[in-house]
Amino acid sequence: MHTKSLTELAAALNSGTVSSVELTQAFLERITALDPKFNSFITTTPEIALEQAKAADAARASGRAGDYTGLPIAHKDLFCTEGVRTSCGSKMLDNFESPYDATVVAKFKAAGAVMLGKTNMDEFAMGSSNESSFYGACRNPWDTQRVPGGSSGGSAAAVAARLTPAATGSDTGGSIRQPAALCGITGIKPTYGRVSRYGMVAYASSLDQGGPMAQTAEDCALMLNVMAGFDKMDSTSAQRDAEDYRAKLNDSIAGLRIGIPKEYLSDDLDPQIAERVQAAIRELETLGASVKEISLPRTRMSIPAYYIIAPAEASSNLSRFDGVRYGHRCDNPKDLMDLYTRTRQEGFGAEVKRRIMVGTYALCAGYYDAYYNKAQQIRRLIQQDFLAAFNEVDVILGPTTPHPAFKLGEKSNDPVSMYMEDIFTLSLNLAGLPGMSVPCGTVSGLPVGLQLIGNYFDEAKLLNVAHQFQQVTDWHKHAPTGI
């Protein structure tokens, strides 16, 4: 049962071959048995899960079941959950229980979902390896000596280990797509503004976007149907009508124009990953898509631009963690300054402090134009690159990451080389475009991901292409050994 996709489980619930309570118990048991190896959950919520499962079964019995009723979900631990700790992977919020639900959480609740728990993540979503979590590194189920990627590493690992069929993630510079690629699952970062950010603890407000992580594109579509939509509580959420992301999954992709950025297949890329991507392209060509080379010349500039803008926003967003109202507070502060400095010194980890300092520096009077303004200009240029490309092609395709999962500790003392892992994913966040990662093979037994990039609000098209790809490949069905 646990290996089934979300869509298959939905069918099983509908046909009555399994109840939500049985399903929930099965996944809770798996988490108890297996997660000590992976550390993909920070908090599990068995009581809530079973209660919600019972309610879901009752709803189904009385004919009130929706598409998601009774299906499990795990939330990345930056989505606020009423009455359940929301830690953001940080000591700072180790004791924090939100008095309200994030919009995404509320939507899943309203849809009848069953919350299994809260997943591990890089502290405040800052990282590409999940190693910066206060709760310890999460491990890649394909090789527990390796990282699952980050920052949504716990969500990716939990889905890969089949501890949950679905998990929410958030993506500021690749935090859904990169771990999805490294863990061999499917994940989509929607267009900025498509999924409400209300209640999702902010890292970099202009880049953050929540999204689904699951085994297949079809599963992601089912989840996105729950998650997406305008929210008046989030002024940056898009005022667009809801759409059914499953409606076009089975459309033919004959005639689809695919662009391959030549910058994405550069020397930095692991040649074996390049080969897997080429193979994926050939599959899509057999489905009738045409391929052409395009150029996104400003790709390399996305890393410096991102590492100005994201830390700048983060330095301000994280100012609220001051020990005054909630969260960690140092013992016996001797005055106000001592309260601030020790609280933040003790509450934040090294990577968070690094980014707060970088961001604070970049916003200082005298440096603002050289850094922040310049980065915003680069951001506009990167967006223009993409828009020019979308005049010629329907989707852009390339690798999600330059390498497969690296070893724990391998890059933790070299932040820049860690940052380079996000070279293919960052630019989409800067442009606000939707992107997804789909499993497209393995390298030395480790999964690698194919990244699909769409024009604004073209999530349905990305899901369609990914679903069609998954009809002729089975990489998404591969699970780590022993799972």
Binding site: C88, A102, Y198, S235, S316, S319, Y340, C364
Partner: protein, 483 residues
């Protein structure tokens, strides 16, 4: 040496919206601490601001009232600094693109008229309050005020005396209360003033070093604080010292200013555009629709009072400065049909009672119609002005119409000449010596001597005799004795 004072004001005006600028919490004053602070005001993790459009409308009303350019694309920025009553660690405000651009107001003092230019006015959120008493060496934080919408009105350094500064502040007060965008209650902090003060030798072009006097909340204190600070600066310079650019606090109890912090301690606020809020874009039709709702402004109303009601400039200025008072006055005019009498009463007896009891005219126990009815009885000689004051006192404390009170208290003026003649005859009969003096006096001196007889008649009638009738009859009867 002769010195010139240069003053610029920054006035914070709390807008009278029902809810806060970025949240749905109430803005009502005086609630129990922290009962009007919602998740957004507490800056709980994950919360986001939603801009209250009413604040935008009110700010534009102000802009139109001071003949300013309206910012068609206003941008909120974050002003970053740590303080316990600033929950997010930044204040959301406007910097580069404020809602109101350059404008002006005209003021008049005994030294003549002056146009004070306004550099701009911007929207921002108020902070909470730190409470330093009753917490055993710690501080309490009340966030009820956090997020109350403010416009900060920044003048050019165009004022040259404390009187002008106070008059400018009064004019701003008159405008915002007339517009109905602020309750004008300075004691509750609805309008607070920072005064930038410097001195320079008369004739010198460049400005002296300025100090900023913070948070002054009455017109009288504006004058006194500036006078005190100007004297301090002049003394300092004349003693060979230098004014230091700093923020100072005015202590009204000691009538002195004290240093709060110097420029060296100033924060680098690391302003940057708030990524959680979209630019506020308005078009001409939106602005014109607001213009159409503007009430008559104080300047226009003063002019109309002069031309329509024949009031002096002074009376017209006083009566038009505060909209509830101006409205009240016009209602009294309407029900009494005597503009001059109404002006005397509203500025005299009524204002005296309001001041003595510290009651705002909007809560005045005597309605405009009641007062108008009273004035009618003066006009038609039912009662004298002095009796009217007694009637007014009854009205103030016990209510009732003028007619009811006059009837119940038997205060109706005696106009029956027969009855008055009878009293006069008695008075003359008892006042032999005074009658002899009257007869002996030169005819042109006699007029003044009537006062004594008048007083006796009024005493005998309990003040109810019609003074006009008494004067005429007295003169007639006394003069008859002289022939």
């Amino acid at each position: 040496m002769e010195w010139e004072t240069v003053i610029g004001l920054e006035i914070h005006v709390q807008l009278s919206t029902q809810t806060k600028i970025f949240s749905g919490a109430s803005t009502a004053f005086g609630a129990e601490p922290n009962t009007q602070a919602c998740a957004v005001d507490l800056a709980l993790p994950g919360t986001l601001p939603v801009f209250n459009e009413n604040a935008q409308r009110m700010a534009i009303m102000f802009g139109l009232a001071i003949n300013a350019e309206i910012g068609k694309r206003a941008v909120f920025e974050r002003k970053n600094y740590f303080y316990p009553d600033l929950p997010k660690g930044y204040q959301t405000t406007q910097l580069e693109r404020p809602v109101v651009g350059e404008g002006y107001v005209d003021i008049t003092t005994e030294d003549g008229s002056r146009r004070v230019r306004i550099h701009h006015a911007h929207l921002e959120e108020d902070a909470g309050k730190s409470l330093h008493e009753d917490f055993h060496g710690m501080s309490g934080i009340d966030l009820n005020r956090a997020g109350t919408p403010l416009i900060e009105i920044v003048s050019e350094p165009d004022m040259r005396s404390s009187k002008e500064a106070a008059e400018y502040a009064r004019k701003i007060h008159a405008i915002v209360t007339t517009l109905g965008i602020c309750d004008g209650n300075m004691a509750e902090g609805s309008m607070r003033c920072d005064c930038n003060v410097s001195v320079r030798p008369k004739g010198q072009q460049e400005y002296g070093t300025r100090t900023e006097l913070k948070n002054i909340n009455s017109f009288r204190f504006i004058e006194r604080a500036i006078d005190t600070e100007v004297a301090r600066q002049i003394d300092l310079i004349e003693d060979g010292g230098k004014v230091v650019q700093e923020t100072r606090l005015y202590d009204p109890d000691r009538n002195e200013t004290r240093s709060m912090r110097s420029k060296e301690d100033a924060n680098d606020y690391r302003y940057f555009p708030c990524p959680d809020l979209l630019p506020v874009v308005v078009d001409d039709s939106y602005i014109e629709a607001i213009r159409a709702t503007l009430p008559e402004l104080p300047d226009a109303r003063r002019e109309r009072f002069i031309s329509d009601y024949n009031l002096s400039e002074y009376d017209a200025g006083v009566l038009s400065a505060y909209r509830p008072q101006a409205d009240y006055y016009e209602a009294v005019v309407a029900s009494s049909s005597d503009a001059k009498l109404a002006a005397n009463w509203v500025m005299g007896e009524l204002a005296k009672n309001l001041n003595a009891t510290d009651i705002d005219i909007r809560e005045c126990p005597v309605s405009a119609e009641q007062l108008g009815g009273l004035l009618q009885r003066i006009k038609d000689n039912t009662i004298s002005g002095n009796i009217a004051k007694k009637v007014f006192e009854h009205m103030w404390s016990d209510g009732g119409s003028a007619d009811e009170i006059i009837e119940a208290k038997g205060l109706k003026q005696v106009t029956d000449t027969g009855a008055i003649e009878k009293v006069i005859d008695e008075v003359i009969a008892k006042a032999g010596p005074q009658v002899e003096q009257y007869k002996a006096a030169e005819p042109d001196k006699r007029g003044k001597m009537i006062g004594f007889f008048m007083g006796q008649v009024m005493k005998a009638t309990g003040g109810k005799a019609n003074p006009g009738a008494v004067t005429g009859l007295l003169k007639q009867k006394l003069d008859a004795l002289c022939d």
